[in-house]
Amino acid sequence: MTRIWSWIALTFGLIYFALPLIGTVEFSLRMRRGEYSFDAYRKVLADPRFQETFSYSVVMALATIVFGVLLVVPTAYWVRLKLPRLRPYVEFLTLMPLVIPPIVIVFGYLRLYNTSSWLPLTGTTMGTNLLLMFGYATLSLPYMYRAVDTGLRSIDVGTLTEAAQSLGAGWVTILARVILPNVLVAVLSGAFLTFAIVIGEFVLAALLNRPAFGPYLQLMGANRAYEPAALAVIAFAITWACMGLIQLVSRFTRHGRTA
């Protein structure tokens, strides 16, 4: 009896999830009248705007990941080692981006860092890029911090630090050669998640007026019929690849530890 209900619930859910995916794939192949073809994909991939915006977002994602790792790993490590009483407060701060909608945060940026303010980041292209990267780092903070903090929980931070120090290592050496390799899996899963978030992000890039992939997607959606479906399939594949890599990395280490 329970099993029948379970199958019903599962089937219902799977149909709901499968239909949009099938529909999108089918629609993306419909560009040529009367037969299925990859024309929409060919069009999209050959579009110079696609290449530009996509590479811009990839670079932004990579920059965000590097910055996020440099910010989060030392902080999480330090809080665990030296300031454990601060942990709840730091954790609360890192979860705030889940509470405050991104559109509100970027609205604040525009008001705080406009050309007539004390820190006119939006005055230059580089400054705006920097601001966008800080924004992305803020959006991914909850995921990055949680991933790294969970990774740190599974190792003995105090002992590792003392061992490294008694061998004469400085703080940079400890972080780069002792702590980071030990939490690499956690860092990588945070990194892939960050990549998935940044690559298609729309609101921040649109309001800061940067040529990112998300605004390009929106523009295509407003003007074209079949290309958006092809783009949606590509975006889904990217998300899937990021999640697959997280799984792969964590499975890889689990095997490594038992061996």
Binding site: R3, A9, T75, W78, L112, G221, M243
Partner: protein
């Protein structure tokens, strides 16, 4: 503190100062790019043009069409989180307690991780390609069954309350599955056995034992899903343009300058959003703390 600090190179007195120095970069970052921007919005909502304090902007939220924007936003968020909770719970229960083959669980959880992150503009495209006027499901229903979902009596419209709710469910359900599966795993087998020994039926066990234990977790997740839907801009914007007036879209148009009104209205709209998601998440934190007492 019991943990003795390892011999810090620069000496004892400096070591204590260094301890606080370690989180300065993070505090600086959080202040500049999280706290100050938020405070700017909150203060701006109460700031008069001459710099004094005023409630005029916030009072605008209760004026004209603005309450309707909030109402439709809250309705869509409530509906999509309710459906997300319901279906997500059913699916999570199916893979944890439902006696399904064990091989289903891991792929479904992986897929949930993917789908909960598949939001924004591409999600809108996917639903347009499926349930839009030329979408796969629309066409198949018309050709095979002669049902036109865009004509009365259904009069479905993707660019509406029901359409947006249906679309949001695509990331709400997986999020529910991801959060509630550990809670369902935490239901101890002894509780079920104890209930059965005392003569409870399956339904009674759920109604009187399992659901009361899960209620805080369920309500808490509901609050998180609500905030998740309430703040979403990209999906709705790509689906409807500016035609459906939900709060995030109106705010987006305000910031873009499409609607030239009082600039302080933007502050007030954003402040209203913080209040709504703040309440939802405050509820989440509180209920979460309550539910974790049972999960030990």
């Amino acid at each position: 503190m019991t943990q003795s600090p390892p011999t810090a190179p620069p000496g004892q007195a400096l070591g204590s100062a260094l301890r606080w120095l370690g989180i300065v970069p993070f505090v600086l970052f959080a202040t500049l790019f999280l706290l100050l921007p938020t405070m700017k919005i909150v203060l701006g909502a109460f700031e008069a043009p001459d710099g004094g304090f005023t409630l005029a902007h916030v009072m605008q939220l209760f004026d004209g069409p603005i309450p309707d924007y909030y109402l439709i936003s809250i309705k869509i968020s409530l509906a999509s989180s309710a459906m997300g909770c319901l279906i997500g719970f059913a699916m999570a229960a199916a893979i944890t307690l439902g006696g399904l083959p064990r091989g289903i669980r891991a792929p479904l959880l992986t897929f949930s991780g993917v789908a909960s992150n598949f939001a924004g503009v591409p999600l809108a495209f996917a639903f347009l390609a499926t349930l839009g006027r030329l979408g796969l499901v629309t066409v198949l229903l018309r050709d095979w069954f002669g049902i036109n979902i865009y004509a009365p009596p259904i009069s479905f419209n993707l660019l509406s309350f029901s359409g947006l709710t249906l679309t949001y469910m695509f990331f709400q359900i997986p999020l529910m599955i991801l959060i509630i599966t550990p809670a369902l795993d935490g239901l101890k087998r002894e509780w079920r056995e104890a209930a059965e020994i005392l003569g409870a039926s399956g339904l009674q066990y759920w109604r009187m034992v399992a659901l009361p234990i899960l209620t805080p977790a369920l309500l808490g997740t509901f609050a998180l899903l609500f905030a998740n839907a309430f703040g979403a801009v990209a999906t709705a914007y790509a689906l409807t343009g500016s035609s459906l007036s939900i709060v995030p879209i109106v705010l987006f148009a305000q910031i873009r300058g499409d609607v030239l009104q009082d600039p302080h209205l933007g502050y007030a709209l954003a402040f209203g959003m913080i209040v709504v998601t703040g309440i939802a998440n405050g509820l989440y934190v509180w209920l979460r703390a309550r539910s974790e007492r049972w999960m030990k």
